[in-house]
């Protein structure tokens, strides 16, 4: 990546410090303040769109569920909805409910995972330990329903591959009660903590007009006062058949993003409860013969935002063109608006606040452009982020 200015840079990458996947950030800094940011992607480009053109329509859901381990229910769902639209297939009602339940369980575990990671970033190890502990029963439940903790592979064109196991209703409700109780405690602890207010409010603000220009989606948009949610705006699965609310905050800072995710967890628990209570009896799939020529889009609300798939069929066995867009593809460029003007110690949590998909083993270094001497490395940045929290804690 070219260097635009004669300023020291923080090179963060090519593997991200705490999340999955590989990206490279080049932060230009002036003193302690970030003045510009460049992003480089695709160190791990897998050519999924090209592979998809060589697979049969019913094989593609397994491929797209591997786009992201955490969003492995929403990608196949968006694809399958596009193909169902081309072929004019209406899945049975029970399948719609099963899809809703799996997608919401996915959202619950993803949001709890983020809360834990965010706590870890700013030096709240207890939040990290608690959150990941409470996430475990959700994964166990997903394993019981689909056979896998991630990469569920349960959705297919025309319905679902597997029905819910017998007696799951009796098991799932006590687990939901337990998670709700624990998350209630965790949410109150986070929202009432004056140190977290001081640490996260006003940090990494994404203004509403920037959110519109960068076309961000999901909790990132909803925390900047844009009330969009595919589940409500263009209902799919059984979202129009159960009762729930869209959570919106106006501030656009890291705190608002945390609040949106915490509140959404409760809405998701509510959706799963309603869906289980209203679950109709009947078949879970219809027979699909062939996919006629045509084109369609399918979109679904993944935990991080809208997953969008476009499929074109020319009447053969394989898609003629398949485009997949993950929510981070539009959320990550918004760093250009939210990170500039921030202090170095706030960058880590700002970058993490959109919940982008990267990995846990990265090195970050601040390099002086003249002497090429490393001033900060990732450990030092991590330390700075935690020291700031500690300083606020002591001042209070």
């Amino acid at each position: 990546m070219k260097k635009k200015y004669k300023l020291p840079i923080i090179a963060s990458g090519p593997v991200h410090p705490l999340q999955e996947e590989m990206e490279f950030f080049q932060l230009y800094i002036d003193g302690e303040t970030v003045v510009d940011i460049d992003v480089r992607l695709s160190y791990n480009h897998r050519g999924i769109e090209k592979i998809s053109e060589s697979l049969q329509f019913d094989q593609v859901p397994f491929l797209v569920s591997r786009i992201c381990g955490i969003c492995s229910a929403s990608h196949p769902l968006a694809y399958v909805q596009a193909v169902e639209e081309i072929a004019g297939i209406t899945p049975p009602e029970r399948a719609l409910y099963v899809r809703t339940i799996i997608n919401e369980l996915e959202r619950i575990h993803s949001h709890i995972l983020w809360v834990g990671l965010a706590g870890h970033f700013i030096g709240y190890e207890t939040v990290f330990m608690w959150a990941w502990k409470y996430r475990e029963p959700v994964l166990d439940m997903l394993e019981k329903i689909t056979g896998n903790r991630n990469n569920y592979g349960n959705v297919k064109i025309g319905g679902c591959r597997e029905d819910l196991p017998e007696g799951i209703e009796a098991e799932i409700n006590p687990i939901l009660d337990q998670i709700e109780k624990k998350m209630d405690m965790l949410t109150k602890a986070v929202l009432d903590d004056p140190i977290l207010h001081a640490r996260l409010k006003g940090v990494g603000v994404l203004k509403k007009e920037d959110a519109v220009n960068y076309a961000v989606t999901g909790p990132t948009a909803r925390a900047s006062g844009i009330p969009i949610d595919v589940r409500r705006d263009d209902p799919y699965a059984a979202y129009d058949l159960v009762d729930w609310n869209v959570c919106v905050q106006e501030e656009g800072d890291v705190f608002a993003k945390a609040v949106v995710r915490l509140l959404e967890t409760f809405e998701s628990i509510k959706i799963v409860r309603h869906a289980i209570a209203k679950l109709p009896k009947g078949p879970i799939a219809v027979e699909v013969k062939e996919i006629p020529p045509g084109e369609a889009i399918g979109h679904a609300e993944a935990p991080r935002g809208e997953t969008f798939h476009y499929v074109r069929s020319e009447g053969g066995n394989t898609p003629a063109r398949h485009k997949a867009r993950a929510p981070s593809y539009v959320n990550v460029p918004s760093f250009k608006a939210s990170c500039i003007g921030e202090k170095i110690s706030d960058v880590l949590i700002t970058l993490a606040a959109v919940d982008p998909c990267y990995s846990c083993t990265e090195r970050v270094g601040v390099v002086d452009s003249h002497s090429k001497k490393v001033i900060y490395d990732f450990d030092r940045l991590f330390q700075l982020s935690r020291e700031k929290t500690e300083k606020i804690r002591k001042e209070m």
Partner: protein, 150 residues
Amino acid sequence: MSPDELVEKLNTIKSSLTQFEQLLNNRIYLSCESENCFEINKFLFQELKARFVIATAIDCEQYFEILYHYSYDQTGCVINLKCFIRDHENPQVESITPLIPAAEWIEREMHDLEGIEFNNHPCMERLILADDWPEGEYPLRKDWNHEKEI
């Protein structure tokens, strides 16, 4: 705006379009030639205030198609603008990134993978392909041989 009012508003740009299709209640497909593409995108983003979702480039062997996908979230309507680039040898179109910052990455991606030139793009650098990937090799084109050694 109700779905009917949306269709009515889209009718005001009908003269720049070559086709207007409403496949389902909330799926609209518009077609245009590459010369009118920038103006229609401007209308969709600035006048209609639709959310830019993504764009898809398709190699149709004799010509290229770029689909700009917009979502009109008030009614849940997805508007797909198909822009036809007739010159397959030297495909060019006006960049919409100066208008919509969200389009920066996808235009760079289409440039890398399909070899479409976006005029007036503020930062046309490699995004998907490696920096040492040879010029003129576009892996998403239909005639690209994936077994070829690069």
